[in-house]
């Protein structure tokens, strides 16, 4: 069982966990009164979410080795979703 753990999936998990903690630290409230609109925090958080989602799709869901139509569809969806999220976030100003 342990032989499977030294594996690409585990390194991906390690990376995902680290950037999860990073996004949490970036967005966390030191002292509790810093809940203001912050474009940079949002940008970092959304970028990390994008990276994480794409890593899961490419590695865990094995889209990286899937036919190209599936790769294109997933990437198109990701770009559309995060594009729309970004647009809605910035356009409201």
């Amino acid at each position: 069982m342990t032989s499977y753990i030294r594996n690409r999936s585990t390194y991906v998990w390690l990376f995902l966990s680290i950037i999860t903690v990073i996004s949490w630290r970036v967005a966390s409230t030191h002292g509790g009164n810093s809940y203001r609109a912050d474009v940079w925090v949002t940008a970092v958080v959304l970028l990390i979410a994008f990276i994480k989602t794409r890593l899961i799709i490419r590695n865990y869901m094995e889209v990286g080795s899937a036919p190209s139509w599936l790769q294109l569809t997933c990437d198109a969806w990701l770009l559309c979703l995060f594009g729309v999220i970004g647009c809605f976030y910035w356009l409201k100003f």
Binding site: S9, S23, T42, Y60, S65, A66
Partner: protein, 202 residues
Amino acid sequence: MAAPVHDTGLSVANDAEGNSKRHLPGDANVWLFVIGDMVIFSCYFTAYLFDRGHSHELFLQSQQHLSQNVGVINTLILLTSSLFVALSIQAARAGDLGSASRFLTLGFACGVGFVLIKSYEWFLELSSGWTISSNAFFMHYYMMTSLHFFHVLLGLVILTMLRRELRRMASPRLQFLQIGATYWHMVDFLWIIIFALAYLMR
């Protein structure tokens, strides 16, 4: 949209031998479902962002009442669960059904942990008076998280079925395992997006 799905749906049954380099994980049917579900969730996310744009301050104020610490713990738990399920598929592919089943059990346990923590988090929020009709933010928050919660519960049922397949069947169908794993990873990354949108973004 349906045409490629229909043709490729049954032709990838022999990926256990690994003779095709570019294989479709699971089958085309589950991918139609996953992509459709992704699009449906995108609608919820877009609606959330749209309302957020109209009452930004309210959303920022309300976000303070969520616990980021609980959120990050749940994210890590689901990530770990995804890892175990991915490892389980790799073990099953290598023919090591015992390890595959054990990894699946660990993944299942993490899923149960998510359910418990999420329920506890809801309990805390509800008992401090934040309900689904408190304001627009909590409406979106409860709707998104409860729909995701339903997906997690469905995923736990599916993981149970996968484990049964590994334990009971003489030659488990790898394709069936992959279908379940694909669904579970989707549940994982949908939570990651919810975590970013509801807990973290400003």
